[in-house]
Structure formats: C-alpha cells, structure tokens
C-alpha cells in the first residue's frame, strides 16, 4: 500500500474502511499544521477529527482520477473553517493588537523592529478583513502551500478565479507595504515576529 496513490488507497477503503487510515497517516500532520495556523491548537484538533471523518464518509465522491488527495482534504478543511470565521477573525485582530502593543517591545527597540511590528499588526488586521473568498485562497496558498490548481480543486472554483483572488489580495498587501513606508533593507529580509503571547 506504501506505493499506492491516494486514489488507489481511497478506492481500497470503499470495501475496507480501515485502509482510510493511510490517508490520515499521509496528510494529517500537514492539515493539522494548517488548522493550527488558522484557529489555534484546541479547535484545530477538533476540526482535524471532523475533517477526516467527513472525508471518510465522502470518499465515494472522491474523484479517483486525482492521484493526490491533499487538495480535496484542504477543501473539506476550508468548509469546516467557515463555521469558525468569527473566531478566526477575533484571533487575527487579537494578534494585531498584541503585536502592536508597546509593552511587547523590548526596552530599546531598534527602528526596524518597530516597523516590523507595525507591519505585522497591519497584516493581521488586513487578513482578518479580507473578503472570505480572497482570504481562503490566500491562506490556502500561504499556510497550505497549495498550487493555483490545488486551490481551485479545494475550493471548487476555476483556476482563473483563484488567480484573480490572489492578485487582489497581493495588491492589498502591497498597498499595506507602501503605507508602512517599508524600507528596502528590511523588505529584503522580512522578519517574522513571535506573535503568540
């Protein structure tokens, strides 16, 4: 079974439900990481269980011409996340506030650190306020590391729609960069701040 494609494993799981465990073993870690990034560890664990149970029940509908099940699994995950839109937005806004908090800064922060914090805060707020379709495509691309085609499969939309949604989101982010007067030397080496309290 180790060499079988996801499609072959899923086909086998139609008559042998336990075979679906292989789909979990191949993709659960990646999907858990994605869900943790979206809604935090506790909700993510719960959603991961729901995701694979739903995938298992829906396996008769899996398109067996697709060797890799990952975009399909992300699609189920995206659907589940819709019920958590509000809490995800709150999480992002809280992140924006924490990052921007003066107390979060070290005693004598260098200017580039202040810039970076302000930028991270602005980004969190911007993502929280993106239209749902744009945000989903963007976060599947960034956190899920899906290709345009993978996103199209996951969301069940044409690849052209994926491209235009991502272009719009990129445009908004570029605007944010411009508003922050991001300096080129920082921009070349974007630093990720510790955003968890």
């Amino acid at each position: 079974m180790a060499d079988d494609s996801d499609a072959e494993v899923i086909a086998a799981s139609l008559s042998e439900p336990a075979a679906f465990g292989t789909v979990f073993d191949r993709h659960a870690e990646t999907l858990l990481r994605f869900l943790v990034r979206r809604v935090g560890p506790d909700t993510a664990e719960e959603l991961l269980g729901d995701l694979f149970r739903i995938a298992f029940e829906a396996r008769t509908g899996f398109d067996l011409t697709r060797a890799n099940a990952r975009p399909w699994l992300y699609g189920i995950g995206s659907n589940l996340l819709r019920h958590h839109r509000r809490s995800e937005g709150r999480r992002l806004r809280a992140m924006a506030d924490v990052v921007a908090l003066p107390g979060a800064l070290e005693e004598d922060p260098v200017a580039s650190e202040v810039d970076a914090r302000s930028l991270a805060s602005g980004t969190a707020r911007l993502v929280a306020e993106l239209p749902e379709g744009e945000r989903e495509a963007l976060l599947l691309a960034v956190f899920g590391e899906l290709s345009y085609e993978g996103i199209a499969t996951a969301l069940g939309i044409p690849i052209g729609t994926v491209r235009s949604r991502l272009n719009r989101a990129r445009g908004r982010l570029r605007e944010l960069l411009g508003r922050n007067g991001q300096r080129e030397d920082v921009g070349d080496n974007p630093r990720c701040l510790e955003t968890e309290p």
Binding site: P17, L32, V36, L173, L176, G187, D188, L193
Partner: protein, 172 residues
Amino acid sequence: MTDEIDLVRCLSGDAGVDRSALARVRESLMNHLANSPPAVVSVPASAHITPYLIYDDVARALRWLSGAFGFAEREDERLVDSQGTIQHAAIELQGAVVMMGPPSVHGDSPRLGVSSMLDVTVNDVEGHYRRARAADAEVVIDLEDAPWGVRRYQARDLEGHQWQFSQPISSG
C-alpha cells in the same frame, strides 16, 4: 523586493504540530473506521437488462416467488402507495434482479396469454428444481440436459409468467 505573501506567512509563526493531538485524533478515527460498514457504491453503468414483470397482486407474487424460486426481495426498492398497495418491487437470486409492479402503463398481467419468458442462470439448478416442485410450481419442461450445454427446467409462476432456470453443464 519583499514578496508581499511573506507578510502573511509571518503571521503563523512556526506552527508546531502536537504529536499527541495527532495520535488522539488518529485513534478516534481508526475506531470510527473499524465500526464503519463498507461503502455502498453505485456501480458504474454497464449495459444490463432487467426484466420488469406485471402482477395483479404484487405482494402475493413476492411471497410465491420467494417460496417457489428462492428469490429474495430487495426491500429498499419497494414502493407502497397510500392505499398500502405495492407499486414497485425488486427481487434477486444470486445477484440477478427482476423488477415488478401492478398493471399500469408498463403493461398488464399475462393471464390472457404468455408473451415472454425469463431465463435465469443459477448455480444449482437441481436444487432449484426440487424447491420449485415442492412449492407446486407448474413445470412446463422437466429438468433435462439441453443439447446446447445447459441443464434446465421451465415453470410457470402463480400468474402465468414463464421462467426458465438453467445451469451450464460444464460448471456443474
């Protein structure tokens, strides 16, 4: 130049994966799988022909066909109208399916004259023959080895449909 996408990537930090969470979810999923029946998959359409018989009394025909010929009803196919009359039913024998219903636009009971016959291939035609005899099916052709290589018999059912049950001799 910054890829603006990196701004978003930074939001998540380095999301670590909690191995124990993975293990918990896995265990619960495997339990669920162990208690799940195989999927009911609709078979991709391949050409097949299903006979549809008309009976004045479908409920009675179901009982008779089950007793005499050993058919089992596919109960989830049964349609019953508000008067309690069976409007549609399906029976099967070793996977071979026959559908039936009361007189309708599809046809009338054959009591006025037989117009067709159903040929059913079975695994044990002798046992099947004994069963039908015991149930007083009216045998039209007694059990015999036909020259084209099948052992077969023919019988009429309670309302006069003709049935042939046969088995390839080589496989017997």
